[in-house]
Structures are given as structure tokens and as C-alpha cells.
């Protein structure tokens, strides 16, 4: 039997390519994009024509709103490469509303949002950036005089699906960090039961936005998610398990201080506080800014920015994690499980659970199990 590698991709139908070309996109770029997207979704190459069809047929309406955000996820979107933000805006999606880039302002901007919501009721994709503050009757965040609580509820309820970009919209993020002064919540907490895909990360990786959208267009369904609503294609594996420095961890080679020889030689950052062992994200494989780098590659430990409650559960960021499963020590995986449960619990305000979990972690404890 032939291995998969030899399967030849069927061609994208000529009429699709012609229509794409008529819209000012080069054939080459379009084929490249469809191939890359198919690969990003871990689909067989035989799916390329279907991806092409999904992308080409019609531009789905998208409403992108920001609440308690820093616009970091909008900026991340502007750094997208395959496809680029320009291609997405002009060719692939019909972005009906997005504060950061839209030309209209004031009541004309709000009118565009409301028109899109009515015209495409049940059909548009909603993208939410930032948490939603429930405190002070919603006065901690208003747009055009309307509270974000009301705005968000209405938009989610009328959307075909909601994609949350960044940790704030996915899990509450920094505004919800203790003591959560504004009673900030995630979209899922505000509108329980809604169809939501969470794309956490601080900020979200643009590659994960484009892959999620195209998955939806291709299959008409949202991607499979884990228990925290995160697509498995992007959040299915622990950073530690895909880390380029894993070999050094297994070999017991650690950077002891920033700038020391081990640090310069790319040794494991575990002792400098890396949270890779407790974080599920595709940073090591996808990286950022077109694959140029990611935190561990730049010599800084992971801070766990895609995990719920990470501002409380993963900090202090420069203190090493308690116990991490090493080479051949599978039983400690349970402890990682406990760590995540604690993280989730803290996100919902059960601070005591985290305290119990961390009690056994003495900072001076410096023994790491090594296997020969």
C-alpha cells in the first residue's frame, strides 16, 4: 500500500480559480492558502478542493466586537500571514464591524452593527475580544451608551457561532484576575449554552483564528474542542510535550539564571519558572509572527497565558512549578491534572483549592527527578 505522502492533491476546479482571479487574488496565492489551511487543519490533501470551495463561495459576515480588551487580539489578527489581514478583509470575510479598523464612527458605526445583526440573523460569525464586566449595572464598559453586557448577549444570541479571541473573552483574563474589581466574566459565563469556540492566548495566535474560521466554512461545524471549549487542533497538546528544549529537560540540563551559559545554549527553562508543563497550546509548533519565534525560543519561560485563571494560578511567573512529569514518570500526569483542576477552580473564585495545591511547593525545593 502506498504511504499517505504519495497521495496527489486533486486540482481545485477551474471555475473556482477563475472567480477568485476576477476578485483580484492570484491563483498561486489562493492555491497556496488552501494548501496551507488544509495542512493546518490536519486534513488529508484530498480535502484541498473542498477547503477552496468553502473559502471561495461567499464571504461570511463577521461582527468583531471589543469590550474589556487591550486590542492585542485585533493587532494579532493584523499580523496574520496565511491569509493576511488584507486578504481576509477584502477577499475572504465580510467584516461588518470592527472598532479598530472600521471607517465609520459614532452612530453610523453602531448602525452598521445592528443592520448586520438583523440582516444576517443566525448566520453571522461573532468574534469577541475582551471580557465583559457585570459590575455597576454594566457601566464599566459601554459602547454608544449601551452596556457591553447587553450588547454581547444580543450579539451572541443572534449569531451562528461565536469565536472568542484571547484569554479575556475566553476565560475572563486579566480583568477577572483577583480581586476582579469589575466582576468581569467570559462570554461563556455571560451566555451559558451558546455555541462558542474559545481561542485563548495573550494575545491569540492569528494562525489559530484563520484555521478556526476556515474549519467552520469547510465543514459547517465548529472544530472539536476540549473540556474548556478550545479546539483540539490548537490546544490538544501540552507545550512541554512539543517543546524544542524537551531533550534538555529529559537530560537534566537547565538554565540556572538568565544569561548564564545554559541559558545561552538553549537549555530547559523549567527552573526559571517555565509553565510549559501545565499549558496546552500549539506555540512550539506554530510559533508567532509567521513562525519566527515563541517565548521559550526567546529564552523566557512560558507564563501559561492560554490557561483559565493563569494570572493567579501561574504567578509568580518566575517561580518554578512544583512537580513536573519527567522522562518515564507517567504517574505524575495525575498531578498535572490536579493543577489544571485547581486553575479552573480559581477561575471561579475557589481560592482555597489553589492554596492547598501549592502548599507542597517550597520555593527552595531544588530536587528534580532525573532518569538515566
Amino acid at each position: 500500500m502506498k504511504p499517505d505522502l504519495d497521495v496527489v492533491a486533486p486540482p481545485i476546479p477551474e471555475e473556482i480559480l477563475q472567480r477568485v482571479e476576477a476578485r483580484g487574488i492570484s491563483r498561486r496565492d489562493f492555491i497556496k492558502f488552501c494548501t496551507a489551511t488544509t495542512a493546518a487543519l490536519a486534513l488529508p490533501v484530498t480535502m484541498i478542493p473542498r477547503v477552496a470551495q468553502a473559502v471561495e463561495d461567499n464571504r461570511p459576515p463577521v461582527i468583531w466586537v471589543e469590550y474589556q480588551s487591550c486590542s492585542g487580539d485585533s493587532e494579532a489578527f493584523l499580523r496574520a500571514n496565511a491569509p493576511t489581514a488584507g486578504e481576509i478583509i477584502l477577499d475572504l470575510l465580510s467584516i461588518e464591524y470592527a472598532d479598530v479598523i472600521m471607517a465609520a464612527a459614532g452612530h453610523q458605526a453602531e448602525a452598521a452593527k445592528h443592520q448586520a445583526m438583523e440582516k444576517y440573523q443566525g448566520k453571522y460569525i461573532l468574534v469577541v475580544e475582551g471580557s465583559i464586566p457585570k459590575g455597576s449595572d454594566g457601566a464599566f464598559c459601554t459602547i454608544g451608551g449601551t452596556s457591553s453586557v447587553e450588547d454581547c448577549k444580543k450579539l451572541v444570541q443572534n449569531a451562528a457561532a461565536t469565536i472568542t479571541v484571547g484569554t479575556c473573552a475566553s476565560f475572563g483574563g486579566i480583568p477577572a484576575a483577583a480581586p476582579n474589581p469589575t466582576d468581569a466574566v467570559s462570554v461563556a459565563e455571560l451566555v451559558p449554552g451558546a455555541a462558542i469556540v474559545n481561542l485563548p492566548g495573550c494575545p491569540v495566535n492569528a494562525e489559530n483564528i484563520t484555521a478556526t474560521i476556515v474549519h467552520y466554512l469547510t465543514f459547517g461545524t465548529l472544530p472539536a474542542v476540549d473540556s474548556l471549549g478550545r479546539p483540539k487542533f490548537a490546544y490538544g497538546k501540552r507545550i512541554h510535550d512539543n517543546c524544542e528544549r524537551r531533550g534538555h529537560f529529559d537530560a537534566g540540563q537547565y538554565a540556572e539564571s538568565f544569561g548564564d551559559l545554559g541559558h545561552r545554549q538553549g537549555h530547559c527553562l523549567y527552573k526559571l519558572g517555565c509553565k510549559g508543563p501545565e499549558t496546552f497550546h500549539n506555540c512550539p509548533t506554530v510559533r508567532y509572527n509567521e513562525g519566527v519565534s515563541w517565548p521559550v525560543m526567546a529564552g523566557h519561560g512560558c507564563i501559561g497565558c492560554s490557561e483559565p485563571g493563569f494570572w493567579d494560578t501561574m504567578s509568580p511567573f518566575y517561580r518554578r512549578l512544583p512537580k513536573v512529569p519527567g522522562f518515564g514518570i507517567e504517574d505524575t500526569a495525575d498531578k498535572i491534572g490536579i493543577g489544571l483542576a485547581a486553575a479552573t477552580a480559581v477561575a471561579f473564585g475557589l481560592h482555597g483549592v489553589a492554596s492547598c495545591f501549592r502548599k507542597g511547593d517550597a520555593m527552595e525545593e531544588d530536587k528534580i527527578v532525573k532518569e538515566d
Partner: protein
Amino acid sequence: MAQRIAVDPITRIEGHLRIEAQIDGGKIVDAWSSSTAFRGIETILKGRDPRDAHHFTQRFCGVCTTVHSMASIRAVEDALNIQVPDNARLIRNLIMGIQNVQDHVIHFYHLHALDWVDITSALQADPAATAKLAQSISDWPKSSTTYFKGVQEKVAAFANTGRLGPFQNAYWGHSAYKLPPEANLMGVAHYLEALEWQKDIIKVHAILGSKNPHPQTFLVGGMSIPVDPDSQNAINADKIAYIRKLLRRARTFVEQVYIPDLLAVASFYLDWADIGGGVGNFLSYGDFPMDNSPGTGSLFFPRGIIMGKDLANVMEMDEKQITEYVTHSWYNYSSGDDKGLHPYEGETNHQYTGPKPPYEFLDTDGKYSWVKSPRYMDQPMEVGPLARVLVAYASGVPEVKQTVDFVLAKLNAPATALFSTLGRTAGRGIDALLLAQKNEVWLDQLADNMGRGILEVFNKEKWDPATWPKEAQGFGYHEAPRGALGHFIRIEDQKIANYQAVVPSTWNAGPRDAAGQMGPYESSLIGTPIADAENPLEILRTIHSFDPCLACAVHVLDGTGTEIVKVRVL
């Protein structure tokens, strides 16, 4: 008859901003600036490890990412008296420098340009005439008829779908748009080019700091990106070459596209050199240390104060003169809301007293914003690239003087033209040009250090909190893209006792103070002509000229601060 309008949301900015204005006789006679969102990050910081603070503060803003990390680590380093290695100084300068350049270009093309450039008019342009215009102002190699024809066809194909997406419902066709179709087409083409360019050149942040937005490489005491010519896991010769290529591309675009476009567009809008002046007081903390002497060392952009547009008299900046008022902000001071407090002593209890949403208008006689009102010697101050450039210009910094004079000569305008909406936009271009050129110098110095075996990037002497004094306080300065940024930290028992950020958009966007003095946004709008109150394009021009960043501007200091202790007891 007087008419009250509200523009909410102000789009193409970071964050949530609302402007209310009173219009009479075709002009703005009164204006109120309000921020309508609040997160409370400084409350969240209390009780945490000061070495972690920069991760939190960086999330003040994802547009001017990096800047709140810079100010934060400098505040802690100031408090603990830490001197960073020379390589850390250079890497920081490079990160800040390219941030300013990229941010200014994004601002000009993607946030501000549509106030001056009418996309719909670009469809009527003659591509050959556009090429001629573009070639007459710059050597940029792309400016051919075929190129502009291609862009025009792309835009036309988009418009023909009838679904204009982010370009719908705008002020297209407004009488205040003055550019000929050819200049509009050139603007649209470069809007698209800049969109490509910005994602590429900012890879400098990824190389030096893992990613952008929100690079993860800053450390109290230095940087975490290692430097070692003999390692594949550090900044080596290969990475230096990569950065050099990106910096050159950044500079070329600024020199051949941004600045020529800025001057060309400005030449059609010279009346805006008389509009939008504002408070006329300017503050710059100065930045970009040129050597590694203790304290701030010698700064490329000097520190200073200009009062009452008096360029003949640059005064020394004394951070003790900074206070913040909450008279018209949704906070209370225990000693009364009519007093200003220095950030170290600052206290803030948020209390919303505005109308219950949904609302039509705010009660601007009372409190009406989540932004506080910072004052210097009780005076409102404008901060930003213009302030930074003016202080350097008036201080006689040769490179700055030369560049400012070049721009003024091109526009055939006197220096006083800089006190305006147009001046603010020009000041940003001057700032970008100067830094785009300076970046390569800092990279050369870093390479030179590496060549001489100087590899230190991190000073670990005070990394261990056990080495810290029981109490300390520090001021972290930075000239961010949007201007003077100050972080103030008090450390007690190895934890953050108090954290306060006085950021550029707080200075500029703040409401009235106890004396009723307007903030810079408000003041700059007075007298602005409004052709059509339904479509107040002119308000966007002046407000965008400040490059608002509201997520940064809103913060709170105190709060209850009790629950966090539960989490901290580990």
C-alpha cells in the same frame, strides 16, 4: 441654534472613547472627552511580585504593546537601584524604536488616513496620473501605472460586491475631503502596502522578544533574550543580519512612502495647521539612553517641559509636580475630590455616578469619564510625538532640528504651525523618521559589543527578593509612541504595595480638573469647524491626531485589595 452631539464609539483607536460636543454657528463651542471602559488592573497588581508586574502592565494595551513593560521594569529598577547591562539598553532601544516606527505607520495609514483620504474617490482616479504624482514625490519603486491600475481594479471589484464591510457607513463624499482622486488612489494603495509591511518589520520583536503583540522578553534587571555569537539559541550573527534587513526595510518605507505621503496629503490640508491647537503646554520624559551611565544617562530625546507654546524656554521636568484630579472622573478621594494627588500618594475608589446605560448623553456637569485628569504644576499638558519632538527641537538637538526644519520647509510653514492638528500628525512622522534611522545605529552597537565578547544581558544582583530593602519606591519613565508614560511603584516586604500608571492618553484624554480647565482633547476641539453635525468628520481628524489609546488611560489604584491576599498565601 446650539446643538449637542455625541460620537460614540470613536473608532480606529484603541479602547472605548466618547466625545460629546456643543456646536453653534458651524463650530464646536464646548467639548467633553469620556472614556467608557474600566478594568482596574492596578487593583489587581497589589500584593503581587514586583518582578511579575510588567507582564500585567503590558496588557494595559495591545496596540502600544511593549511600552508598559518598559515603564514597569524601569520603575522596579529605579526602586531597587538596578543598573542594566549595555546590551539590555541596546535591545530595549531597538524594541522601543521599532515599536514607535511601526505604530506610527499603522496610525497614519490604518487609523488616521481615512479622515483625509476618500476611498470612493480613488475609483475615479487615472492610474497613469497617479503614477506620475507618486513618482514626483518619491523614488519608491512600486509607483507604476500598472501597479496603481491593479490596486484600483482590486478596490473596484471589492466595491462591486456591494458589501463594503469595514468601509461601509463612513463619511465618504464629505465636503471636507480635499484630495484629488489620484492622491486618494495613492493613499489607498499605500494603506494596503503598509498593512503588509507592518506585519513583516515587527518580526524584530519576535526575534528579540518571542512575539508581537506582547513580547515576552523583559526582565527586571535586563532582558531574557540571550546574546551569544557561538549559540544557535541566542542572538548571533545570523539574527543580527535578519534584524538589519528588517530595520532597513522599515527605514526605506518611512523615507520613501510614509514621509512623502504625509507631506503630500498635508499640502492639501494646510488650513488644519490653524485648527486643533489645544492647551499649548507640552511634556516629554525623554527616552532612548545613548550610553549606560547611571540613572537615565544621556537621552536621544531630551526630557523637558514647554509652557504656553514658548519654544524659547524649555524647563526641567520634575516628576514631583505631577498630580491627578478626579473631580470629573468616576472615582472618589478620601480627602475630597477637588484636590490633586501625586501618584505615589494616589488613591482611587471607583464609583460610577453616570447615567444608567443605555443613555443618550452624559451629565458633564458632574463626573463623566473613567480617565483621571493629570496635571503638571496644576496645568493640563499635551504629550505625544509632537511634545517629544518640540522639546528636542527647542532644546537644539541637531538631528531633530534638521528634520523638523526640513518638514517645515517642505510645507512652507512656520514652526508655530506645529501647534495644530496637522502639526501633531507631522510630529509623529518626524518621530518615526528619526527613530527609523537611529535603530540601525543601535543594532551596530549591539553587534560591536558581541564582537568584543560582551554578552551580558541581565544583571542578577537584585533578582532575589531577599536582597531588597523592606520598602522602596520608583518611577519608571518611557516615551511611548503616544507620549510621556510614567509608572510609579511602591514596594513593601517584597510585594507591590501600590502601583500607579500615568499614561499618555490619560494626559491627553482626561476630563476637566477641579479648576474647570479642559484636558487636551477637549481644548483642541474648541473652534473646530463642523460642516455637517450628522457627519462630524472634523472631530475624528483632531481626536485621531492624538492617536488615542484608551485601554491604557483607564486605571485604578486602590480597591479593597483583600481577596488577592488569599491567593498570594501559598
